[in-house]
């Protein structure tokens, strides 16, 4: 009987482990799920949690967009969680669906996309340097890289 209690406790712990919570990126250790590069830059990293709770880490939002291009069902799933680092607060995740993406030639993002994410639109506008810079929202960005 005592052992049963322990088994139930263990099961509860295991089930509790299956959460959809984001996992912090280990900079300098974790590799990008798309381009295989080691994730280094806190300004550009991104993370994806699928509806089933599978977690993918990326070194840049352009990598996450490219990964979604190859995994359409994840991209269109409303239960997928997309997180991007806010450029103005390096290392802090923001909801990609609510973020603004600035493509500006002065941004040297890891995969050459010149792309950074901002949670606030004014911050994205303020970071503009290039005249031809453009700001997208999440759905535009994903559709564009299709």
């Amino acid at each position: 009987m005592k052992s049963l209690k322990w088994i139930i406790l263990a099961l509860v712990c295991i089930l509790a482990g299956c959460s959809h919570a984001p996992e912090p990126i280990l900079y300098g250790k974790d590799a990008c799920a798309h381009c295989k590069m080691t994730i280094m830059d806190k300004r550009f990293a991104a993370e994806l949690i699928t509806a089933k709770g599978k977690l993918f880490k990326f070194d840049a939002s352009e990598c996450m967009a490219a990964f979604l291009k190859e995994n359409q069902e994840v991209a269109s799933d409303a239960k997928s969680v997309f997180l991007v680092c806010d450029f103005t607060r390096p290392g802090e995740f923001a909801d990609a669906r609510k973020s603004f993406f600035l493509r500006d030639s002065s941004l040297s993002s890891p995969m050459g996309g010149n792309l950074a994410a901002f949670i606030s639109r004014p911050a994205a506008d303020a970071a503009k340097k290039d005249k031809s810079a453009q700001i997208y929202n999440w759905s535009l960005l994903v559709n564009q890289s299709k």
Binding site: Y27, A31, C35, K36, M40
Partner: protein, 411 residues
């Protein structure tokens, strides 16, 4: 009349060398900083900087100057700015200690920045504690020779040791780069030669190529870097006679090749790496005369690769010679030496009479079920590999060395 013109011409020519002055910079003298010297200098002058420590908050070099350090003068930005920026062409900078550039996430601060310039030589300098070491943007015909570049080894505050962006025809020779993010980083850098450098203990890659075509790197050593060397999205690269040694850990490779085409990997040594070469979406690559010694995986070739040719390589003491994740097409192996080959050579022509299959059954099992790695070197694994070798049924039929060499290749 004619002789007069000649005389005038001769006189004019004689005055030219005289006009190129040498300006001496030393502490406690009227000219006590490099900035002052550059202000009073004219194109073609030489600035000689004597031993001492000079504060340099982004000294701008916008004239054609030869700047020489004597007795290792120190240019220190005290973490407040970049140290030096060169925007003029025909500049030579030699013999300095360049140190303590600012760090930070909003701009790429560098020890020595070269911007929109050509014909510049940066030689015999020691760079320490800079965010980026030498940063080249939009430059052509540059020589970086014999510099020692040491970063802070701090993940947050480390840029690349040598960073090239949109450059052409750059020679990088006999430099030592350590403790930076990437030792040498190329983005849109074309027709460059990287030779005789040592890049070790960098946080990420020893060498990192992105979108850079027609480059050659030869006779370099990449040792103990966070993730080895990465060559991505490039064409026509020659990798010759390099040594890739001790790049250990998960997702760490001697060389990571991704979307690279028409390249040649020749005469390299891959020693004690987790994975010697990892290839993904890489087409028309020739891998010849390389040594793969004591690696976990000598090569991991993904099914997305096409028309690659592996010949005359030595595979010795690797846990796995080749692994893949699917069906390999048009990947040719011939004349390689495999120490696991157990065939025979009855006609004594130096070539084994039966083909060698480099992908073992156990490697296939691990591919499907990574946890089974714990059975490595167990009796059962040896048994199934032996059975599979004798009667191949599961390992891919297409991947085989039809002419395995009986003896290792010598240079």
């Amino acid at each position: 009349m004619k002789s007069l013109i000649v005389k005038i011409a001769v006189l004019f020519l004689m005055t030219l060398p005289v006009s190129a002055r040498t300006i001496v910079v030393a502490p406690g003298t009227p000219v006590s900083s490099l900035k002052q010297a550059v202000t009073i200098a004219k194109n073609g002058d030489t600035i000689l900087v004597k031993k001492g420590t000079y504060i340099s908050f982004n000294t701008l070099i916008d004239k054609e100057l030869t700047i020489l350090g004597q007795g290792w003068p120190v240019l220190d930005a005290r973490f407040r700015e970049e140290v030096l920026t060169i925007t003029a062409s025909h500049v030579k900078l030699d013999g300095f200690i360049v140190t303590n550039s600012k760090t930070g996430s909003m701009r790429d601060f560098a020890g020595i920045r070269l911007s929109n310039a050509e014909f510049i030589t940066i030689s015999n300098n020691i760079l320490t504690n800079n965010f980026f070491g030498i940063y080249l943007s939009n430059c052509t015909h540059i020589e970086l020779l014999h510099n020692r570049i040491t970063g802070s080894n701090n993940i947050e505050n480390s840029g690349n040791g040598i960073h090239l962006w949109k450059c052409k025809e750059v020679l990088i020779k006999e430099n030592y780069v350590t403790r930076h993010r990437d030792g040498i980083y190329f983005e849109f850098a074309k027709k460059c030669l990287i030779q005789d450098n040592l890049s070790e203990k960098n946080i990420r890659y020893g060498l990192h190529f992105m979108f850079s075509d027609d480059d050659t790197y030869r006779h370099n050593t990449f040792k103990n870097n966070g993730s080895g060397v990465s060559v991505m999205y490039t064409r026509r690269i020659a990798m010759l006679d390099n040594t890739f040694i001790e790049n250990w850990g998960s997702s760490i490779y001697g060389v990571l090749l991704k979307e690279i085409t028409d390249s040649r990997i020749e005469g390299n040594h891959f020693i004690r790496n987790t994975t010697g070469i990892y290839m993904e979406n890489s087409d028309r690559i020739t891998v010849i005369h390389n040594d793969f010694i004591s690696n976990g995986w000598a090569m991991r070739v993904l099914a997305s690769c096409n028309k690659d040719h592996f010949t005359r390589n030595n595979y010795k003491g690797n846990s796995f010679d080749v692994t893949t994740n699917g069906t390999l097409k048009e990947i040719d192996f011939d004349n390689n030496y495999w120490d696991k080959y157990e065939g025979y050579d009855l006609d004594k022509n130096g070539i084994g009479d039966v083909p060698y299959r480099p992908i073992s059954l156990y490697a296939q099992i691990i591919e499907q079920n990574p946890q089974s790695v714990m059975l490595m070197r167990s009796f059962i694994v040896n048994l199934i590999d032996k059975v599979e070798r004798a009667i191949p049924s599961i390992t891919p039929e297409s991947v085989k060395d039809i002419k395995p060499a009986m003896k290792p290749w010598k240079k």
